[in-house]
Amino acid sequence: MALGGTEMFAAAALAILATMALALVRAISGPTVYDRVLAVNMMTTKTTLLIALLGFLAGRPEFLDIALVYALINFVSVIAVLRLFGRRV
């Protein structure tokens, strides 16, 4: 890592954090429940990337296991929430 070490990971992590804040705005102000599910889906995808970046940032790539599990939970949660609301509406 000749090019300044971990600054590149920090920059990408800051961009991911800004995107998560914007997705949170949509999740709070979404007019329909589908907007909220979309925003939460986007946030969990970004959380996966953020965990992977934090593993590199902290020099502990074992965090990638957690990111892997999170990527799987994300899909299951979206399908589960859609099934719940599809039955109610």
Binding site: A12, T45, A52, L64, A71, F75, L82, F85
Partner: protein
């Protein structure tokens, strides 16, 4: 060689961050649920794969890269599926996408159009700036 790989990784991470922020702004500012799906898809593909590629270059040939490839593999299948089921659920619940004029674009019910006799197709005059169909 090390410098070149670091520069490539740096560029990929920056492009991924740009896609992430662009998709986030799109999710907040676009007018409609279906257009917001597009903005979310930008972050799911552009941001995720560019950042994962940048991390793979940093990881080198090791178990780290294998795990990153697995994360990308799961994202490759789960994100389009969840986006599709979101759009299908919203469409099934009666949410109408916007038409060109910004109004709701309600599809005609299938039973009504099948019950009517088939009329010869006439060229309809296009009305510029026509009012969108009113929402009941």
């Amino acid at each position: 060689m090390e410098i070149a790989l670091d520069l490539l990784s740096w560029a990929l991470l920056l492009v991924g961050g740009f896609f992430a922020i662009a998709g986030g702004i799109g999710v907040v500012r676009l007018p409609d649920f279906y257009t917001r799906l597009h903005a979310s898809g930008v972050t799911d593909t552009g941001a995720a794969y560019f950042i994962l590629a940048g991390l793979m270059i940093q990881g080198g040939l090791s178990i780290i890269t294998v795990k990153l490839v697995l994360i990308g593999f799961f994202m490759f299948f789960s994100n389009p599926t969840s986006t599709y089921s979101l759009a299908a659920a919203a469409h099934r619940s009666g949410m109408a996408p916007l038409d060109g004029a910004g109004g709701p674009n309600k599809p005609e019910p299938v039973e009504k159009s099948l019950a009517e006799p088939i009329e010869p197709i006439e060229p309809t005059p296009t009305k510029p700036g026509g009012a969108p169909p009113s929402q009941p």
